[in-house]
Symmetry: C2
């Protein structure tokens, strides 16, 4: 029946997307605007220009244009590591003895080890086009920092990365990849910024957080001439660039007449999930089709499933604009025992609005169950997945096992965002039986949510 569907679908070059898809154009309820942290009024393009590049601001604020052309230079860079394969998980299906058909879109076949490169090259390109010397950013687990370093090396831009201290120390090899690509990597909080010094004074011995590293990167940008700040997730512009994932996925499925029933992605700040599901949700918004969309988040950082849909600060230092999103509070820090990424306290405003409007559901999964799925997947599908990606694997397996019970032949598509080659400390913990589950108590969450800013 499906004789002609290859194990791995690679699009031909001429089938690759030439435009990004802007899901906001099809949303009736647009995502709420970013607010100025001082005035609590919507940020204007002029205000945003203090931090971001001009063309990226235009993309950030554009709620109307459905398709935005990908510049030739970015298409050229995409050809370096794209198209990514859409893989039929035949071996996993057989292992599970499920009637479900499982596909995964694999974004890990590049040195950044994840999908982050899709937006890194776009942001670096617009910075270069604007005549800038360099960019500043933060990185947690390290994928984003690596991706940006690669993009900057390619374009000849300086790249300064503030890396969450706990990752900097636990993942020296990630740091070294960035340095090989010519980036400067500073552990955060550091004494190189005012906000860093303040945080260090208040919390001596802290191992840092993403929200804190964002504050430092933004401050650093503002003190450097010819630099702008760039961010790897959460923002509308990032989701826009990442739609190359979903557009390729859809093109590959359409090419072989495959209609997915369930689409699953892991969710931290939302860049991968948003990129994967946007074209499918677009069809739902336009009333053309119906899919079950599942966001998967760690039980240790459950912004969708236990957070509040409200305006909040995007960073710990409260220097960035406020965003309306599902949030756990900008002071929330997941347990240090939580491995991998997906540690951000908030969520993409676009995805938050779509979730709020019922276009997707969300599940939280526990860490040991995630690594169990990761190991099972690695052994039959060959790829050792990133802990982040493995959240999606967990729920894909759960859904496939449900099909086994019901006999349904559902088609499940999930996003395999990257590889776990720099996460072996976490795998070692799991292999040694030393990994636990760390779920915040209701009291903890209530405490950090009580500190949300009052906006309305």
């Amino acid at each position: 029946m499906e004789k002609n569907i290859p194990y791995k679908i690679y699009l031909e070059e001429n089938e690759m997307p030439k435009q990004w898809y802007n899901v906001r154009a099809d949303m009736k309820n647009k995502p709420a605007p970013l607010l100025n942290p001082g005035t609590l009024q919507p940020m204007t393009a002029e205000e945003l220009a203090g931090v971001f590049c001009d063309e990226l601001i235009a993309q950030e604020l554009d709620n109307d244009t459905p398709y935005i052309a990908i510049p030739e230079e970015i298409l050229g860079f995409y050809k370096m590591y794209r198209p990514s394969p859409l893989v039929r998980a035949y071996c996993l299906e057989e292992k599970l003895q499920t009637p479900a058909k499982i596909y995964y879109k694999f974004e890990g076949n590049n040195t950044s080890g994840s999908h982050k490169l899709n937006s890194a090259i776009a942001q670096a390109y617009y910075a270069k086009k604007q005549g800038l010397k360099g960019v500043t950013t933060e990185t947690g687990a390290g994928q984003w920092g690596t991706a940006l370093s690669m993009a900057c090396a390619y374009l000849g831009l300086d790249c300064r990365v503030y890396m969450v201290k706990v990752s900097y120390e636990q993942k020296p090899f990630r740091r070294e990849v960035m340095r090989t690509y010519g980036a400067t990597v500073t552990p955060s909080p550091s004494d190189t910024t005012e906000v860093g010094r303040k945080i260090l004074a208040e919390h001596p011995g802290t191992t840092g957080s993403l929200g804190c590293a964002i504050s430092e990167a933004v401050e650093a940008e503002q003190k450097l001439d010819g630099y702008k700040y760039v961010l790897g997730s959460v923002l509308n512009q990032v989701l826009l660039h990442q739609t190359v994932i979903g557009l390729e996925t859809k093109a590959a499925l359409d090419k072989y007449g495959i209609k997915p029933d369930v689409i699953i992605g892991c969710a931290g700040g939302g860049s991968n999930l948003g990129g994967l599901v946007s074209p499918f949700i677009g069809e739902m918004l336009r009333g053309e089709n119906k899919y079950q969309i599942i966001a998967v988040e760690p039980a240790s950082c459950p912004s969708f499933t236990r957070g509040k849909f409200a305006y909040d600060f995007c960073d710990t230092g409260k220097v960035c604009p406020l965003a309306k999103m599902y949030t756990l509070g900008s002071n929330f820090i997941p347990s240090a025992n939580h491995a991998g990424g997906l540690r951000y306290h908030g969520m993409s405003p676009i995805l938050s609005q779509l979730y709020h409007d019922g276009y997707m559901e969300a599940r939280s999964v526990e860490q040991t169950a995630v690594f169990e799925a990761a190991t099972q997947f690695a052994r039959v599908e060959g790829i050792l997945p990133a802990p982040e990606s493995s959240h999606a694997i967990r729920v894909a397996i759960d859904e496939a096992l449900k099909c086994k019970e019901t006999g349904e032949e559902k088609t499940i598509v999930f996003g395999l965002t990257g590889t776990g080659y720099f996460d072996m400390v976490a795998y070692e913990k799991y292999n040694n039986g030393e990994m636990g589950d760390y779920i915040p108590t209701d009291e903890e969450l209530a405490k950090s949510l009580a500190e949300l800013p009052v906006v309305e």
Copy 2:
């Protein structure tokens, strides 16, 4: 002119090789047979059966059959990570401002991070088919051990890896990947074998060598019921399996009417080089075509360029058969400061004979020049290469720069065997300016070569 040649050539599933190519069938001067270390007589199939699987022995001894069918099950596994792309290095060409056209066959898009999986799955498959419980092996840098662990996990075989102690300690993450795939990893030399205990007694504090780990893995196999020993390079069977690299490369080039002038591969034991060049050398042997073939080896372990073509032991413990090959002497150990693999004292008997007969040339390159090429390549082509693969990059760049001087538009193809994600300790040394070059003196080589066994 070349408008229709994509950036990356992926073969369609139906274009992938269904047979391995046995270059020995076309060699007038066959590689010399393995000798029994006791009697110094050619090893019979019966004698080899004490160590190797039956079908692999047949492949090892087959000097006549030009094409050997790849079993369906192995083809199925190959589909998991193959075809590998043949990439046009447009960005590198532009960076070098060379009129040369550079292509590379990239074997790193799988969790083992290298081409080693091509033979690992074949050897594990034949072991499984013979009803064995498991296999033993050694690994140096770790690629082979990882590949074999993956193949064994897939087939449900037990896998016991003796890992050279210095690698075991410097690359804990490699070890952890193997453990994630269910393998048992023992640092070598160990006290789990007689030969290990003997070496430890004679050289207390030794950090091990590949030759020593081979001896331990062979001894372990002989003491375990239902186990055989498998090896990741040097042997004829391994080169046979690895021809899938060269056959895919040739099919991709032929598809677009590209004729290479120069083909370059790094050479340690010869598995990648032999796999890449065999189909091309086959055409030379049959008088159909002419190519310039270049083997690249580290100046710190220069078996082709400074070794002797003679019978030698394959392992330090002298329990394995003797092979006629270019060798530095089985007691030769490259400087501990040499990074990455390509540390074996000998070379594939097939490649040794072909080199001896003038079908390829060899160059040795120094470590810092290799990392310079690796970094240059990473920054423009996106892939952070393995130190081993970077030997080929170095010479590909050198050849492209020659073309720049002469104006020749040569087509250069090189093998990019893998990624360097587990080699960041070496990159860190290079990034910090702490890397040196370690070339054995004539006296050192004369000493280890003086210990060659007397065979004729």
